[in-house]
């Protein structure tokens, strides 16, 4: 990771420098932005890429890019929406490369479904309900891996980050109807796996 620390010094801005700028943006206080959104951006990268080290690197890249392009932030969307747009572009750039496909196979830091299953919350203590919850989670986890890149990103923005469809449309630059279509298809894939699993269990 380890070597992937975000230094707050690199984002420091003197008050004089801010006053010299024609228009100050909320992104000038990057320390506060990182403190507020780093965990959420990391989560999106981690579940999208499913590799801890890559997620750390992309999280840093997200904030570095945000800092570099802070002058282009017009304030017509929330800071989270703007950061998520950068994060989504980074995930898309990363997953397109052949290098990603290679390292996905050999990486030791890749997440296995068993890693996640251990974190399924068990609200009641019966063994049967715990097993069912783990199976349901694993089913969705495997189904998400089978989605196309765009479907997966939109699915995660909706069901992991719990963003509104209008926000997802803003992040992806797609119409709401297209976002809905991608979600319908993603849910159709999950539903198919779900029903197949139910039939197998019966």
């Amino acid at each position: 990771m380890p070597s992937h620390a975000i230094s707050s010094d690199s984002f420091s801005v003197t008050p004089q420098a801010i006053t010299h700028q024609a228009s100050a943006t909320p992104l000038d206080d990057m320390d506060a932005i990182v403190a507020t959104y780093e965990q959420r951006i990391f989560r999106f990268h981690l579940i999208s890429i499913r590799d801890r080290d890559v997620a750390q690197t992309l999280t840093q890249d997200t904030f570095v890019r945000a800092w570099s392009a802070r002058s282009s932030f017009r304030g017509d969307c929330s800071v989270l929406t703007w950061l998520m747009r950068i994060a989504l572009n980074l995930v898309r750039d990363h997953t397109r490369t052949d290098r990603f496909r290679f390292w996905k196979k050999v990486s030791e830091t890749a997440i296995d479904v068993s890693d996640i299953s251990a974190h399924v919350p068990h609200r009641d203590s019966s063994l049967e309900s715990r097993l069912i919850a783990s199976e349901q989670m694993a089913l969705v986890w495997d189904s998400v891996a089978k989605l196309s890149d765009r479907q997966r990103s939109i699915f995660l923005l909706r069901f992991l980050e719990e963003l509104e469809l209008s926000e997802i449309a803003n992040i992806t630059g797609l119409p709401i109807s297209t976002v809905k279509t991608h979600l319908y298809r993603a849910l159709a894939t999950i539903r198919t796996h779900h029903n197949a699993s139910l039939k197998d269990s019966i």
Partner: protein, 169 residues
């Protein structure tokens, strides 16, 4: 006539997005869900699956983030490294490699010191021997040097004077 909810109707119920316009048949859908056990069971199962997926992902990401944050703020090697024998073997090799030049340097240093001592002692011994030989020679002389007859101071001037006399003559 469709006996169960369509995929879109089921998805709209799962999405439950406030930005979505409420459809005209929402009341019909609600009534169907209350009456149809199959659709209500499938909807509940899908909602549970998505909820478990989200909860587990959030919890896992939180743990991973905390670990990476702890690694960043600590200068000590991570705990996983300390438990690996390979890490300790590498540390031992590095320690020996660092110790080797120091030992070599100490050996060379001691050899150089002994050589310098040897070279410094040789002229000292020679001068001591010369001094002793000189003392022996003086002690063994027949007449002590203070009692030796003085040299004739006119030896050299006589010859010079005669020569000058011859020139004047």
């Amino acid at each position: 006539m469709n006996l169960h909810l369509t995929h879109e109707q089921l998805c709209d119920l799962i999405l439950a997005d406030s930005s979505l316009r409420a459809s005209d048949d929402s009341d019909v859908v609600e009534q169907h869900l209350q009456a149809c056990l199959i659709c209500s069971a499938e909807l509940k199962s899908l909602r549970d699956s998505l909820s478990h997926f989200r909860d587990a992902s959030v919890a896992y990401a939180r743990q991973e983030f905390a670990q990476s944050y702890a690694q960043r703020s600590s200068i000590a090697p991570p705990q996983s490294y300390l438990s690996q024998p390979l890490y300790w073997a590498a540390a031992a090799v590095l320690f020996v490699a660092a110790l080797f030049p120091i030992t070599l340097h100490q050996q060379q240093h001691s050899a150089a010191i002994s050589a310098v001592k040897a070279t410094a002692a040789t002229p000292q011994m020679e001068s001591d021997e010369a001094l002793l030989a000189d003392i022996d020679q003086k002690v063994s002389a027949d007449v002590p040097s203070p009692m030796e007859p003085l040299a004739d101071p006119t030896d050299g001037t006589t010859s010079t004077t005669s020569t000058s006399d011859q020139r004047t003559n």
